[in-house]
């Protein structure tokens, strides 16, 4: 599997560390909404198809990336910097589909 790091170019997956489901939305730090925290910490989408993931280029520039990967084919349709929180837009999109 190759991931095209926006800084470093196409690199083998061995250089990257999976940093979890990119659809999680972290509640406001001061929030006491337990349901929201619980969802953030434990609930994960497990789609058969495109999945929004966070990867770190840990063996390279160490930047975190938002990667859309097809879990069936390993095809990667987009890679972007992860700056700007978890992919709330992508999550909503995924939920709309289901």
């Amino acid at each position: 599997m190759l991931i095209t790091c926006p800084y470093c170019g196409p690199r083998d997956v061995i250089e990257f560390t999976y940093q979890g489901d990119g659809n999680r939305e972290r509640p406001d730090p001061a929030s006491q909404n337990f349901e929201a925290w619980n969802a953030y910490v434990y609930d994960r989408l497990n789609p058969a198809g495109d999945h929004n993931e966070i990867w770190q280029h840990s063996g390279g520039c160490r930047t975190h990336l938002r990667v859309v990967r097809n879990t069936l084919t390993h095809e990667i349709s987009s890679v972007a910097f992860a700056h700007g929180g978890h992919g709330s837009a992508a999550r909503r999109k995924a939920e709309d589909k289901s």
Binding site: M1, L2, T17, Q19, R26, P27, P29, A30, S31, Q32, F34, W37, N38, Y40, V41, Y42, I54, Q56, S58, R62, T63, H64, T73, H74, A82, H83, G84, G85, H86
Partner: protein
């Protein structure tokens, strides 16, 4: 009559004689021979004994799919078992032996297994050895008794135990077009792609490029096809943009068009050339791939189809045309398709008598009748072979009229005298790589074969691989595929003219002739048609289950010749069409791969070693080193004659009596810098850091998002926006990643930069009542008295001319200081400290004494912060700030995490004055016979020189409330039971007067 070398013909070098041995007997062959062709030329018919029944077996094929003729090749002490003789190129000094026979290949004692065929059917081992024990002859114990004998009798070659001295290497390669297979399709594809300027790699598992052109006896552009192939290869050889890889099996097709290949670089040589490895593993990243891997001919399933002398039709054609070897003098053919007629012509031309062609089909085309007449063979249309005769070689066979519409045998059998029977059951495209690459194969009813799926990765098929079995189609498809793969435009071009024997590519849909006797489907695993039906009768309906129950297709050949006949028979038993039964998915590797090539240069201990700057000093001064993760740290600095326990007790005691020094360079160190650094640390740690004064340090605790404890350490505020965080040695990498994740993904608005500086600093912790005096003796540029350097204070100064940073903090519980300097000066500063300490009785101490003193103080480490404990469990709830949210604060008060019966940190004192063990359970009542009722476990233990007792830290259910009560250790594995007192984890100086004083 027996097989022999023809007088002329073949692509071997008859002027070069090569000497080798097989089963101890000397043989000769010619350059270009395989072990199979050389032995066949000398009249050898018997090559091995079968897996289960020990039936004599001969050559079935001439290529990589050979299931029978497996040999072991010996090179000095090293033995490599289970190599098809068809894939071994002979060289002077080659030593090969046959397998699975005792005492010899010709006289094999286990051949009696053939008589017990009904007993040794599919599922024999399950039925005999699994399940409840009734009497003495059943169950696991019986298996354990029988296993030795069964393993000896069943199986393939035995692996060697000698160390392999051969060298292997790895190679990464990149190309625009990888062409797999060098038959007419592959050669055309490579040439077309190369003409477009693409970087091309061409791999073939055979030593000679050309594939079927080497033995088809067809002509291309008026010349023998083999000559055309040689010319094309010569053209490719001369080009800079083409790399040719003969003897290279592409065995795996992975994501992103990454393919794995094994090049057998020097197996065919007596000695490898200078610098040559034995095998080379290629990881090839190709923009696109042309799969021109051809097709495998299928055997027909009928009684006695495994007798030596029964061979695939194309294999005989290949032995005759490529190697100049006739597999017999009186040859009969048995076929369900037209391709066998070409073999009849080839063998006739090579000098054999073709006595009969039994064709399953009642109606034959005029072309085939003409070919049979040319071969002077008698045709038996609508006939089938129902039996073969002979022992270690074929002597004859029986034919009977056969109705292919219902499989019925009609009339009397008739005997035919023949020493070789060629069979053809149609062709299966070699779709393994395409199947590995993703999609499911599709059944084609006309071809009676699984054809390659639609590409899910960037590959293009060509030739027999796609089910186009003629050379003309192969050339056309190959050219088109090569052009397309290189991104070129398809232009009309004049294709080479092919002169070939005609034939219909579609076989009759018959796989099996049902008659009395063992009809083999999987030759290598001895699976018969009856085994497949038995599996069906016993309720196995899925083809995947069939495979596992009968082991069909699970031998080293991975069912290359048996897969399709096996599931055709299963489909018939189920009464379903073949596509509904489906096929198993092919997985890598296509053919066996040497483990050595995968490891290549990476063998031995592969872990990197992390050494502190003072490592050499420790070694020179008697330290016993201990590996802690990747780090090497001194365990003790033992004196002559001291045990480990004596050494650490001495070191710990001396530290508490006067002073001790320990290397702490391994602690994780992270520079946290920027305008928002303090705010960031407030979010990361449970306690406040924004209130920390410049020039002071603070102990901090981190939680995970789920509210459990993650890591602890001190963080020093070096400047308003400049912090130096320390982490535990083991968690340094994880904490760094944790910080980066939050900065990068969650809080990108924070202006903070984190940098791992673990390797930039050397650190030494010096503690004990005399520690301050020692520092005062060697530190210049700053005072180290209580006013200048209070508890948790930081000063900068110099030691032996080197700038140092000193923080007064304590892990040992004594008055202690951590001294940091640039890593390159580590040993220099360390030596100066040791020298300054001499008059004060300073000792160097290792991990054991460090651990002892931390247990005495009740500090936690990774053994207690084990991913299951909370801050409260560890009595660190005083560190949980109520003034701010932090990572984990929202989740840490969940019901289960504040329950009263959680495991809590306590101290234990052994009341029987015997050593305690890490991992031992704590129980209320000892029951040595039936240990149960654990209320916790020991996480760390030692002999405490300060207390003069054996003590431990433990996590015990509701431990805080149990302080002052008694319990027991229960450690049945080490037979250690005994009473303990549960106490506070702060064994020693709980008020901290020593470190503050």
């Amino acid at each position: 009559m027996s097989p022999r070398r023809t007088d002329t013909g073949g692509r071997i070098d008859r002027l070069k004689t090569i000497r080798f041995t097989f089963d101890g007997a000397a043989y000769t062959g010619h350059a270009g021979d395989t072990l199979a062709s050389a032995l066949l030329a000398k009249g050898v018919t018997l090559y091995g004994r079968s897996f289960k029944y020990h039936r004599p077996r001969g050559l079935l094929t001439a290529g990589v799919e050979e299931p029978n003729a497996l040999v072991t090749v010996l090179k000095g002490e090293v033995r490599e078992p289970n190599i098809p003789a068809t894939m071994v190129e002979i060289h002077d000094g080659l030593v090969a032996i046959s397998q699975n026979r005792f005492p010899s290949l010709a006289w094999d004692i286990n051949a009696v297994n053939q008589l017990g065929g009904k007993i040794l059917s599919a599922g024999f081992y399950y039925k005999t050895f699994m399940g409840p024990v009734f009497g003495p002859l059943k169950g696991t114990r019986f298996w354990m008794f029988c296993e030795h004998f069964i393993r000896r009798a069943a199986g393939l070659g035995s692996a060697g135990s000698a160390k392999d001295p051969a060298r292997y290497e790895r190679m990464n390669a990149f190309c625009d077009v990888l062409v797999v297979g060098s038959g007419p399709a592959g050669l055309m594809a490579a040439r077309a792609a190369a003409d477009q300027g693409a970087r091309v790699m061409l791999a073939d598992l055979e030593p000679r490029f050309g594939g079927s052109a080497n033995w088809s006896d067809e002509t291309i552009d008026g010349a023998p096809a083999a000559d055309w192939a040689r010319r094309t290869v010569a053209q490719l050889e001369g080009r800079d943009n083409v790399r040719l890889l003969p003897r290279t099996t592409v065995w795996g097709y992975y994501d992103n068009n990454t393919l794995a290949a094994l090049e057998r670089v020097s197996d065919h040589k007596e000695q490898p050339g200078k610098g040559e490895p034995r095998h080379r593993y290629w990881a090839i990243r190709a923009k696109s791939v042309v799969l021109a891997t051809g097709a495998f001919e299928r055997p027909l399933v009928f009684p006695g189809n495994d007798r030596p002398g029964v061979m695939l039709a194309h294999a005989a054609e290949r032995y005759a045309n490529e190697f100049g070897v006739l597999p017999g003098e009186r040859i009969a053919l048995f076929t369900n398709n037209d391709s066998a007629y070409r073999a009849a012509i080839a063998l006739k031309k090579a000098g054999a008598a073709v006595v009969a062609i039994a064709d399953i089909r009642p109606e034959l085309s005029p072309e085939m009748r003409k070919l049979a007449a040319e071969a002077e063979a008698e045709i038996f249309a609508g006939h089938a072979v129902v039996a073969t005769e002979g022992g270690k070689a074929l002597s004859g066979l029986k034919l009977q009229r056969f109705d292919m519409t219902n499989g019925a045998l009609i009339g009397d059998a008739r005997s035919i005298h023949a020493d070789c029977l060629l069979m053809s059951g149609g062709w299966s495209p070699t779709i393994h790589l395409a199947s590995q690459a993703g999609a499911k194969a599709e059944w084609n009813a006309a071809r009676q074969a699984f054809l390659p799926p639609k590409p899910t990765q960037s590959w293009i098929g060509a030739g027999a691989f796609t089910g186009s079995f003629s050379t003309l189609e192969a050339l056309a498809e190959g050219r088109a595929a090569g052009l397309a793969a290189a991104g070129g435009q398809s232009t009309p071009a004049v294709l080479p003219v092919v002169e070939a024997v005609p034939g219909d590519p579609d076989p009759a849909p018959v796989f099996e002739i049902r008659a009395k006797g063992k009809s083999f489907v999987d030759f290598q695993h001895d699976v018969t048609a009856e085994d497949v039906r038995l599996a069906h009768r016993e309720g196995f309906v899925s083809v995947e289950h069939l495979k596992r129950y009968t082991t069909l297709g699970m031998a080293t050949d991975q069912g290359k010749s048996s897969n399709v006949p096996g599931l055709a028979i299963m489909a018939e038993a189920l009464g379903k069409p073949i596509p509904e039964v489906g096929t198993t998915r092919f997985r890598p590797p296509f053919a066996p791969v040497s483990i050595g090539s995968l490891a290549a240069e990476r063998f031995g201990d592969l872990r990197p070693e992390r050494l502190t700057p003072m490592h050499d000093w420790h070694l020179a001064n008697g330290a016993t080193m201990y590996s802690a993760g990747l780090w090497y740290r001194p365990m003790i600095y033992g004196h002559a004659g001291e045990t480990v326990e004596q050494a650490y007790v001495r070191e710990a005691k001396a530290t508490r009596d006067s002073a001790g020094i320990v290397d702490v360079s391994t602690l994780g160190k992270i520079a946290v810098q920027g305008p928002d650094a303090a705010a960031f640390l407030d979010r990361v740690y449970t306690n406040m850091f924004s209130t920390l004064a410049v020039g002071k340090a603070r102990y901090g605790l981190m939680l995970r998002e789920d509210g459990l404890a993650f890591d602890d350490g001190t963080t020093w505020r070096l400047g308003e926006q400049d912090f130096l965080m320390t982490t535990t040695t083991a968690n340094a990498g994880k904490v760094m990643q944790h910080l980066e994740y939050f900065l990068d993904v969650i809080w990108p608005e924070l202006k903070v930069h984190v940098t791992s500086v673990t390797d930039e600093w050397a650190g030494a912790a010096i503690g004990g009542p005399k520690a301050r005096q020692i520092l005062a003796a060697c530190v210049t540029g700053t005072a180290v008295d209580n006013a200048t350097l209070p508890f948790m204070g930081i000063v900068r100064g110099e030691i032996a001319g080197v700038p140092v940073m000193i923080c007064r903090l304590s892990f040992s519980g004594e008055m202690a200081f951590e001294v940091y300097c640039g890593a390159g000066h580590g040993t220099h500063v360390w030596e100066a400290l040791v020298e300054a300490g001499k008059p004060f009785g300073l000792v160097t101490y290792g991990l054991e004494a460090l651990g002892t003193m931390r247990i005495e103080k009740g500090h936690v480490t990774g053994a207690e912060i084990d991913g299951r404990t909370t801050a409260r469990d560890l009595h660190l709830d005083w560190m949980l700030s109520k003034k701010k949210p932090f990572i984990g604060s929202a989740m840490m008060d969940r019901e289960g995490l504040i329950a009263s019966d959680r495991l809590e940190l306590v101290g234990l004192i052994a009341l029987d004055n015997k050593p305690l063990n890490g991992g031992a359970h704590i129980v209320e009542e000892v029951d040595e016979a039936n240990p149960h009722g654990s209320i916790g476990h020991i996480t760390a233990c030692c002999y405490s020189p300060a207390l003069g007792k054996h003590i431990a830290l433990a996590l015990v259910k509701a431990g805080k409330a149990r302080q002052g009560t008694r319990a027991h250790v229960s450690d049945p594995l080490r037979n250690r039971f005994g009473p303990v007192e549960i106490v506070s984890n702060h064994f020693y100086d709980p008020e901290g007067t020593r470190m503050h004083g």
